[in-house]
């Protein structure tokens, strides 16, 4: 076979320029077929089907470019981490006045003091628990919100709520919304990467990063330091050379087809997607290969902790997250904790909370803290918004006959830091026992609205038409939480 590779490459480049033309170009035309009723509103993203992940402008100037979510699956207790309640220590062992006799899993027991000691950290003197000393060491950089509420007290629906704004399955995840709006800064990597915990995925699994009714191209691509992307390589290593030759042939045949059907934007788009696939075959193994990371970095994250295999694996996921953010991946959702197994694999501490958190705390704390510190050291926090969160809180009482806390969607904490976030603030509060949000109450919709706002997106204008409704991440709710903004 004789073909001039360089001229071929040139033609691809020309084609890409062609597709990259402004809204009057082919890309804009094909938008109508790609996104059916989209584009009727002026604020809809103008998506070029040839480059669906090309960076797009937000509605207004953005504070943040990328988002990193550290999601603690299983409902990590606010009372054992960030929501210090001295009154709860006083009332240890007493019943909660007018409290619910029965909660999610069964009858309530008495109030129980925080299972870890709290001490002040940083200039702000924020009280944090002994379970999270590494994360607490950077407390002055954080903004806390202590008064979040969820719409569900059940793991699956509540994780859906955090990740999609709806408790039901089938809605687009926040990462999908954001890549739909903004594309990515790096077109050689997926725009949205979900990094499941080494122990497995959380209860709502792929719903956390699914496209819902958005086009498939905006779904999160799951992989972590242990599990590669599906089908990235041939099933049995066959031969690199033939692989490349096959791709060349494919391009040439597609060119023939394009010649017969000139100006078909969808054909251009498909060729572009092949090229991205080919680039991903090179870029993904490269980014997943941590062998170039120096010892002191491995050390800082705990990736070389030979005594705690899960921690070391989670730490490697944290390094992977940093590498993805570094390369301009728009949205990274990093999971800590797998599905609910009565607290064995995640934060669902119903029975023996202290015992379980003594396992999970060290896995999460040092690597997560190292990730934030590393991003800060590299100057990446000025463009990156970090959100540490969980699906709901836990009760101030123990469950009857147990030493653990039941589900509590009435009040819980999230931590934010990075781009656009006001450092050193604590916004909102639960009541004195940490039972219910009492001051500046915010349903999680408000955090979604805030996240979009920092990305330069108006949460009421970022919509997608589906089954007769212009859908939004925030449904019909959402208020930007001004108290968290720098």
């Amino acid at each position: 076979m004789k073909h001039d590779v360089s001229s071929h490459t040139l033609s691809l480049l020309n084609r890409r320029n062609f597709l990259g033309q402004s809204a009057t170009g082919l890309g804009a035309i094909a938008l109508t077929s790609l996104l059916s009723k989209q584009g009727l509103l002026a604020d809809q993203p103008a998506i070029n089907p040839g480059r669906p992940h090309a960076a797009r402008s937000p509605h207004y100037p953005a504070k943040a470019k990328n988002v990193l979510v550290i999601f603690c699956a299983g409902a990590c207790s606010q009372l054992e981490t960030w929501d210090y309640k001295p009154e709860l220590i006083k009332h240890d062992g007493k019943p909660l006045k007018n409290g619910p006799p029965v909660t999610f899993q069964g009858p309530s027991g008495n109030l129980a003091r925080p299972q870890y000691e709290f001490r002040p950290y940083g200039q702000t003197g924020k009280m944090c628990s002994d379970m999270v000393p590494h994360l607490a060491s950077m407390v002055d950089d954080y903004a806390f919100i202590h008064s979040l509420t969820s719409k569900s007290n059940t793991h699956g629906p509540a994780e859906n709520f955090i990740s999609t704004g709806f408790t039901l399955d089938g809605f687009p995840s926040m990462g999908a919304w954001i890549t739909y709006a903004l594309g990515s800064e790096n077109e050689n990597l997926p725009a949205f990467v979900a990094i499941p915990d080494p122990r497995g995925v959380p209860q709502a699994s792929v719903n956390n990063w699914g496209p819902g009714f958005l086009p498939a191209v905006f779904q999160g691509t799951p992989f972590n330091s242990k599990q590669p992307i599906q089908n990235l390589q041939p099933p049995k290593s066959i031969a690199k050379k033939t692989d490349v030759a096959a791709r060349d042939l494919l391009k040439l045949l597609n060119d023939q087809h394009l010649k017969r059907n000139p100006k078909d934007a969808n054909l251009f788009a498909r060729i572009a997607s092949y090229e991205l696939a080919a680039r991903m075959q090179l870029s993904v193994p490269e980014i997943s290969d941590l062998s170039s990371e120096p010892q002191h970095i491995l050390n800082m994250y705990g990736a070389d902790d030979s005594k705690n295999k899960v921690k070391a694996d989670y730490a490697k996921n944290c390094i992977l997250a940093r590498r993805l953010i570094e390369k301009g991946v728009r949205f990274v959702q990093l999971f800590n904790g797998a599905y609910a197994t009565a607290g064995q694999l995640n934060w669902d501490g119903h029975q023996k909370l202290r015992e379980q958190y003594d396992v999970h705390g060290p896995i999460m704390d040092q690597p997560s803290a190292a990730l934030i510190r590393d991003l800060k050291q590299r100057g990446l926090l000025k463009d990156t918004l970090i959100l540490w969160c969980t699906e709901f809180g836990r009760m101030p009482m123990f469950q009857k006959g147990a030493k653990g806390r039941d589900h509590n969607p009435g009040g819980f904490t999230a931590v934010l830091t990075g781009a656009g976030i006001k450092p050193g603030v604590s916004h909102g509060a639960t009541d004195e026992l940490g039972f219910k949000a009492a001051e500046n109450i915010h349903p999680f919709h408000d955090l979604h609205a805030t996240m979009l706002h920092l990305l330069g997106l108006d949460h009421e204008k970022l919509t997608f038409y589906h089954n007769g409704i212009q859908r939004r991440l925030t449904d019909v709710h959402g208020n930007v939480i001004k108290g968290l903004l720098a």
């Binding site: 086009p215 498939a216 779904q219 066959i238 096959a246 969808n266 997607s273 092949y274 599905y339 007769g468």
Partner: protein
């Protein structure tokens, strides 16, 4: 006559000659005014309604826009007085204001929303083009084309046409023998013969069922977080059979909505009602049952109204609909029809395949076996000494009964469950308002004498009075064949939906559908026999500029194949496809550890099938809602969690990776290589030609032959240098390779086949 083209909203192609309320004015009012002056009584301001004429008429002075309050307010110089209010964020475009002005000048009359006026049969236009003749469809399409100054495109060549219609009607590519026969048939009826053959093929039912499974959110698992398996495939098989038997659509709808309420309902008629039991069911411990039962009933309302009426009732769950005349109370009156199922809405942690109510569905063979056992038992019971034998026979019968597949069905509680309007749609906030079953007033009257239950509803849906169903269904036929419906928003015919590009054609098709006894095969034949359908899909630069999205149908439709057809095509062209119709869902290859992530404790992991089950049509692949088959999802197959009436068609790199590396596609490539080497004759050219015909349905051009031949030489060289790589390639997938054939040659052709199977042309229907 007005020349409005310059400032028409984007997407409008033709300058309208007169302003029509429904086409031009209603969308402006709906987008800008209805939220505060529309059907929602709670949000209505100033007691003014602009969705219906009676109250709105007061602010119109017919013929005199400047003396009409409406026009004064939208053009008011004082921003405090100007409508829409500044803080609404809405601004009327200059073009919109001009349309409203012209409308008032022309009389300012309201019309009922077009889709709520029953279709009347339009006169067929006279033929104006003797070179592009044919039937009613073409005349409607041509009239519109001419007004836009366009000409129809020529007929597609025979090979393209055969491939197009084969995929459209059966979901499979034509085989070389069929191509040869069609090419050789010079009779004027040649294409019609092909169409008749395809419509008679059992593959027709499978292809048509594909879209229906999306609409009915069919899956093989219960959904939500535990997502255990369920057995609903007897319902799926009912659907396929109904299509193949050409069951009239009115019957098809009636049995699925209310088969259980028919007198002496058969098992099949009860199985049909599984349409409204395909929804997800919770199994996670601790959830509040009533919450999910309410979601289930809402899902039935949303699915039923979207599929049969093209309306978005869901909006009226929490408040009166903002755009369509459906009040919240009317939503719950409709909801009452589906609120009476004796279900638990929770299948629990155990491996429970069905929530009640359900039926057991024996196959013919199973029924015969059971009859045989029953007869034997009866016989043994007469003999006193046969105690042991009797015990064995009874055990065998019981075992047979246990093994029967189940299907969840609809049923009615007695006495009926009470239905209340739920405040803000919340399950735990029933208002004091109790409602009984009924239809929204704007849609019509409950048929006289019909029972106030699902059967009465079904009779109204397919009765003559309902303005929507026939239009909605024929519009989806059109969408199937042209990629886009005559009404583009095929799921929404309400005020927020799009105006039909060809209203008269839509109404003609709808009335024709009813006139012909809701005969679906006849409608598909009518459409594919039209010259409109048979045009070449190539687009000239001029045409592209005038009509980029092909809304005027001045060229043939081209689109990427749906997910299932892409995989089926690979299986078919390689000869791997196992054509068995229906039955239990199958588990072909999946990426390693695929379900590990979402199976909990005692939920079974993915166990791959072997043998023929690896090569069944994709619609039989086990559909787990939380993890749909990735090689389907990459091509926009939905998760089946909710009703989907239009699939997106996007291009993702994950799709490219599937075509290159998914084991099914790699195995198909090497089997295709074997087929080509065995059946492709002795020369390289004849082999490459066969390969190309099998995959693209046509002979390759000389240039393509050159490219294929050049690549083949390259593959041969590299595999000759590394025969181990060839052997590894031949080991992908479980089907054996022909030991007679040379491994290096096979591998070289397999690499070639892999590339060809992944080309745009292979996965596009031109």
């Amino acid at each position: 006559m007005l020349l409005l083209a310059g400032w028409l909203p984007a997407g409008s192609i033709v300058a309208w000659e007169v302003v029509l309320f429904n086409r031009d004015v209603r969308p402006i009012l709906s987008d800008n005014c209805f939220e505060c002056h529309g059907p929602d009584a709670a949000k209505r301001k100033a007691d003014l309604r602009l969705d219906t004429g009676a109250p709105g008429q007061a602010i119109i002075n017919a013929g005199k826009p400047d003396k009409s309050e409406l026009f004064k307010r939208i053009t008011h110089t004082d921003l405090e007085e100007r409508m829409p209010p500044v803080d609404s964020g809405r601004v009327l475009a200059l073009g919109d204001i001009k349309i409203l002005r012209t409308w008032i000048e022309q009389g300012g009359k309201w019309e009922k929303h077009w889709a709520f006026i029953p279709p009347s049969r339009p006169a067929i236009l006279p033929a104006t083009n003797s070179a592009w003749p044919s039937g009613a469809i073409d005349r409607f399409v041509l009239a519109k084309m001419k007004r836009a100054g366009l000409q129809p495109s020529p007929r597609a060549d025979k090979e393209t046409l055969l491939r197009r219609v084969s995929f459209d009607l059966t979901g499979l590519p034509p085989i070389p023998r069929e191509i040869d026969a069609f090419l050789a048939d010079a009779s004027p009826r040649a294409f019609e013969k092909v169409v008749d053959r395809l419509l008679a093929s059992p593959r027709y039912g499978e292809r048509m069922a594909l879209d229906w499974l999306d609409a009915a959110r069919y899956a093989d698992s219960h959904g939500y977080s535990l997502d255990r398996r369920r057995v609903m495939w007897p319902w799926r098989d009912w659907v396929i059979r109904a299509f193949n038997d050409n069951m009239p659509f009115d019957r098809f709808a009636l049995e699925q909505l209310a088969g259980d309420l028919l007198p002496d309902a058969t098992i099949a008629q009860r199985v049909a009602t599984g349409f409204n039991r395909n929804h997800s069911i919770q199994s996670e411990g601790g959830v509040i049952n009533e919450e999910y039962r309410v979601e289930t009933v809402v899902d039935r309302v949303e699915t039923t109204t979207a599929v049969f009426l093209g309306l978005t009732f869901g909006c009226a769950r929490c408040h009166d609909h903002k755009y369509d005349p459906i009040s919240q109370r009317e939503f719950y009156e409709f909801y009452a029809l589906f609120n009476n199922v004796p279900e638990t809405a929770h299948v629990g942690n155990a491996d429970k395949l069905a929530d009640k109510p359900f039926v057991k569905v024996p196959s013919v063979a199973q029924r015969k076996q059971m009859e045989w056992h029953r007869a034997k038992i009866a016989e043994l019971e007469k003999k006193s000494e046969a105690e042991e034998q009797l015990k064995t026979a009874r055990k065998a019968l019981a075992a047979l009964g246990q093994a029967l597949p189940t299907a969840m069905i609809m049923g009615e509680l007695s006495p009926a469950r009470k239905t209340f309007v739920l405040s803000r749609g919340q399950y735990d906030q029933p208002s004091g308002v109790e409602v009984s079953a009924g239809l929204p007033a704007a849609l019509g009257q409950w048929p006289a004498g019909a029972p106030r239950n699902r059967l009465g509803l079904a009779k109204w849906i397919v009765g003559g009075e309902n303005p929507l169903t026939a239009r909605v269904v024929v519009n989806r036929f059109w969408q199937m064949h042209f990629g886009t419906g005559i009404v583009k928003s095929s799921e929404d015919f309400g005020a927020q939906g799009e105006w039909p590009t060809h209203p008269a054609l839509l109404d003609w098709l709808a009335t024709e559908f009813i006139r012909g006894g809701w005969n679906r095969k006849a409608m598909h034949k009518l459409i594919v026999m039209s010259s409109t359908y048979q045009q070449v899909s190539r687009v000239s630069p001029g045409l592209l500029e005038v009509d980029p999205a092909n809304r005027l149908f001045a060229r043939g439709p081209r689109f990427r194949l749906p997910a299932e057809m892409i995989r089926d095509h690979a299986l078919a062209s390689s000869g791997l496809l196992v054509g068995r119709l229906g039955g239990e869902s199958v588990r072909p290859y999946q990426p390693p550890g695929l379900w590990d992530d979402v199976v909990y404790e005692n939920v079974p992991r993915f166990v791959q099938d072997h043998g023929g089950k690896l090569y069944r049509r994709s619609m039989y692949t086990y559909w787990k809602r939380s993890v749909p088959p990735p090689n389907m999802q990459a091509f926009d197959a939905p998760s089946r969690e909710v009703c989907v009436l239009t699939r997106a068609k996007t291009n993702t790199p994950l799709a490219a990776l599937v075509l290159m590396n998914d084991p099914t596609f790699v195995e198909a490539s090497r089997k295709l290589a074997g087929r080509v080497l065995r059946d492709g004759g002795a020369t390289e050219e004849s082999r490459l030609t066969l390969l190309h015909r099998l995959v693209c349905g046509r002979r390759p051009t000389e240039r393509e032959l050159d490219l294929l031949s050049g690549a083949l030489a390259e593959f041969q060289t590299s595999f000759r240098a590394e025969p181990e790589a060839a052997r590894r390639l031949m080991a992908v997938g479980e089907s054996p390779h022909d030991p007679v054939l040379d491994v290096v040659e096979l591998a070289a052709y397999a690499s070639l086949a892999n590339a060809v199977l992944g080309t745009d042309e292979a996965i596009t229907r031109n």
